[in-house]
Symmetry: C2
């Protein structure tokens, strides 16, 4: 039913918007890291292997902007910033859990499809490439 509605209004801008936000390289893994509770910037940095400081900052800002993540500066003597999921972020995470489950259940089908597709393309161009 939601799909029919989306079709009638031609495309579904809100879902596209969401998927583009969450379809970047680090957003989902960051949200997942925050599932187990509040984390500091450097905790997230260490837990996300391969991310740079700059990209983590951008990722967190984007998530914060959409209301999925909350940033709290703890006023101590030393600089201390804590990130946590908002209620909306937790809701998003439970949506993502469905996606994760689906991706896991169907990963072999996707893998096989790719192998098959790439093999055919390989055949088509093998003479030209050689």
């Amino acid at each position: 039913m939601p799909i029919k509605a989306a079709l009638e209004t031609l495309a579904c801008p809100y879902a596209s918007d969401l998927l583009r936000r969450v379809g970047d390289k680090w957003s989902v893994s960051t949200i997942i890291l925050l599932e187990s509770g509040t984390k500091r910037f450097n905790e997230l940095l260490k837990a996300s292997e391969g991310i740079s400081q700059r990209i983590l900052t951008l990722t967190l800002r984007n998530l914060e902007r959409d209301g999925f993540v909350e940033r709290a500066v703890i006023s101590n003597s030393t600089l201390h910033v804590e990130y946590s999921l908002t209620a909306l972020g937790a809701s998003l995470l439970s949506l993502m859990s469905g996606v994760i489950k689906w991706a896991d259940q169907n990963r072999d089908l996707v893998k096989d499809a790719r192998l098959k597709f790439d093999a055919i393309r390989e055949d088509r161009f093998s003479s030209a490439n050689k």
Copy 2:
């Protein structure tokens, strides 16, 4: 439970992969267009306002490669190509229907969060920009 598992294996590559594929500009709307049945290339082109031939081709190739869409060349006198969802593609679409529903239900919360966030940033930089 799937999230816990994903956390333990550190990140969820299959879901990230899926979201990046489906997080591009045209994949979801293309899949939605194919929900109502087989479509020809130019039907999809006309139904997707703003897309170019090249991008539609790339979008369809990617969807085909992952096994979500099937391409069939109809051997008539004139060139005729039909695209349709595979079973896997239909399954993906029903997953996406959940995403579409969520995005629709929470769009105001996201919108408000953005307005608030942007207003604060505006304040912070208004003196510098003026």
